[in-house]
């Protein structure tokens, strides 16, 4: 293609040059996108008050860098690792529950015909387009009415049957051959036996993708826990980190290093299971 004469007046770049221009462009963009994280990483070696006062920048006094913040994180970070453990516990429980309940519901939609199916499925689709922010006040009022504030159950329960996850599983289950299910019935399995013993093992990739997607959303979940949780010992990482932003307490070192450290689990999972991240992400909507 490099020798091809263009009939238009536009200048045609040689093939190899075209490729390297593109490569250079993408590499520059990669640096730009990673810069905020790099700069924040550098800040974990700096004095917190200084960073807050001066803002983040690449103009760093190399002599001032130290590991003090890392020592502080592991020896004297107050409730930080409590929050970390809370986040892990909540994420694991909620992901497991969401996968179980949502796949269960999705199976009902995928393989059976029943009265009201269309209407209910339209409800699933509609819920996908209602932002949680609109539900926050009504749910908040409801939770206060029944006196369940400050408990993990109200963080988890309303979201076990998650519309995006249901939708994704349904699409996946539709692709499972009916013969496979029929064979299970011949063998005398109950309808639920078929689901747990035949369908779930076949659908492992779907479970992996949805585990990643939900795990990411729940690990970063902020608004609803912010409204519900009251006691510091129950805080999750985002809620705890947010409290460190107040100017009244001098906790800026922990704010900066704690923020970076909270990214670690997600980053590690991403590097290990990139494929499932992509599958989960393109499967459905993602909300901030």
């Amino acid at each position: 293609m490099s020798g091809e004469r263009s009939t238009r007046t536009r200048i045609q770049l040689p093939y190899w040059l075209h490729g390297s221009v593109q490569t250079a462009f993408l590499l520059v963009l990669t640096l730009v996108v990673l810069a905020p994280l790099l700069i924040m990483f550098v800040a974990t070696f700096q004095d917190g008050n200084d960073v807050i006062r001066r803002g983040l920048s690449f103009d760093v006094d190399l002599g001032s860098l130290s590991l003090d913040n890392y020592v502080m994180l592991f020896t004297d970070s107050g409730p930080y690792f409590r929050w970390f453990a809370n986040s892990i516990l909540l994420t694991v429980v909620q992901v497991a529950g969401t996968l179980l309940v949502s796949s269960f519901v999705a199976y009902g939609f995928a393989v059976y015909d029943f009265k009201g199916k269309t209407a209910l499925f339209i409800a699933v689709l509609l819920l996908m387009a209602v932002p949680f922010e609109i539900m926050m006040l009504p749910l908040y009022v409801l939770v206060n009415d029944v006196g369940l504030a400050d408990s993990y159950s109200v963080i988890v329960l309303p979201f076990l049957a998650a519309s995006v996850t249901i939708f994704y599983f349904r699409q996946y289950f539709l692709g499972i051959p009916k013969d496979l299910l029929e064979a299970g019935r011949m063998d005398g399995a109950t309808e639920f036996g078929i689901f747990f013993k035949i369908v779930v093992p076949v659908a492992k990739p779907a479970f992996a993708a949805m585990a990643i997607l939900n795990g990411m959303i729940i690990w970063n979940n902020f608004l609803w826990p912010l409204l519900v949780l009251r006691s510091e010992s129950k805080f999750t990482l985002p809620i705890g980190l947010n409290t460190l932003l107040t100017p009244h307490e001098n906790n800026y070192e922990l704010l900066i290093i704690g923020s970076m450290f909270s990214l670690l689990p997600v980053l590690v999972l991403f590097l290990l299971f990139q494929r499932f991240f992509v599958a989960g992400m393109t499967a459905g909507a993602l909300k901030g």
Binding site: P36, L37, M40, R54, F109, L127, L139, S262, M281, A285
Partner: protein
């Protein structure tokens, strides 16, 4: 026992048992709270005592200057994020999907673009707040300084705050939208492009006549989620301004206003009216858009 056995084996009862969790969720956590919101929006609640006031809250809303300001801020943010977060990822996805260039660099690029989406809004907000510091030493002011301009008081002025919000949105969502568009592009049959090449169509022509039309469902989908994501934006502003208050309320969004009136000031009736209006607006926009783009026709034809 017999009844239970029958139930477990019955193909008629099974679907209802399978979907029961969804029906319960729908009733308890959606219908009930939504009905409650509609009811609250016609009431004035003082010290837990609710009095029916008809459409009073809606009238107050209509005459409320701050509500319109919040509405304007949200609408502006939605329009601008759509204007930025569809064309740019689309072009970048086309670059990744093209045959030229190094595959390894493209893979690194794709993965790196996605990394910001892994951050929580809290962490992303903290980073951007510090990058957009108003001191001369903040990163953004250093960049501005390179061009010879004076330091900008980013979060104190309307345009500066808007730029910070848009930068934050682009940083977090460009990579995700690239993934959507790439998935769409990879579903377009290779033969279309081969045929076009034989007909003598250049790369740009191929992009406009093959890629774009075939991506329509993806573009419709991304636009739809951007509409409600944009109009319901709250946390980005909440983190950037370190709370729900910003200079001259330049960062106040509709949800921010709902949060202020309902949760900070406990004016449940008024806040519910705000929620109802926003829900109606989002639904109206999305339904119009989906109808215009012909999505419903395709769904029912299936």
């Amino acid at each position: 026992m017999v009844v239970l056995r029958r139930l477990l084996y019955s193909q008629r009862a099974a679907p209802y048992l399978f979907i029961a969790p969804f029906v319960i969720t729908l009733l308890a956590f959606w219908m009930l709270p939504l009905a409650r919101t509609f009811m609250l929006s016609t009431q004035e609640v003082v010290f837990g005592q609710a009095a029916f006031v008809g459409l009073d809250n809606y009238q107050r809303l209509w005459e409320d200057r701050l509500f319109w300001k919040a509405m304007f801020n949200s609408a502006r943010y939605m329009v601008l994020t759509i204007a930025l977060l569809i064309p740019i990822p689309l072009v970048l996805a086309a670059l990744i999907n093209s045959k030229i260039g190094s595959d390894r660099v493209k893979a690194v690029f794709k993965a790196s673009m996605f990394v910001p989406a892994l951050t929580s809004v809290v962490v992303a907000g903290i980073i951007f707040r510090l990058m957009f510091a108003e001191t001369g030493t903040g990163l953004m002011n250093q960049i501005v300084g390179l061009v010879g301009l004076d330091p900008v008081r980013w979060l104190r002025i309307d345009t500066g705050g808007l730029i910070a919000l848009l930068a934050l949105a682009m940083w977090r969502w460009t990579g995700v939208n690239i993934l959507y568009f790439l998935a769409g592009m990879q579903a377009i049959p290779e033969e279309y492009y081969e045929a076009a090449t034989i007909d003598g169509a250049g790369r740009l022509q191929q992009f406009f006549h093959i890629t774009l039309p075939n991506l329509k469902p993806t573009i419709v989908y991304v636009t739809t989620i951007s509409v409600y994501g944009g109009l319901a934006m709250f946390l980005e502003s909440f983190m950037l301004y370190r709370g729900n208050a910003s200079p001259n309320d330049q960062g106040l969004t509709v949800i921010g206003y709902l949060y202020r009136r309902g949760i900070e000031q406990n004016d449940l009736g008024f806040a519910s009216a705000v929620g109802v209006v926003l829900l109606v607006v989002i639904m109206a926009i999305n339904l119009t858009f989906l109808t215009l783009s012909g999505t419903f026709k395709k769904e029912s034809a299936r």
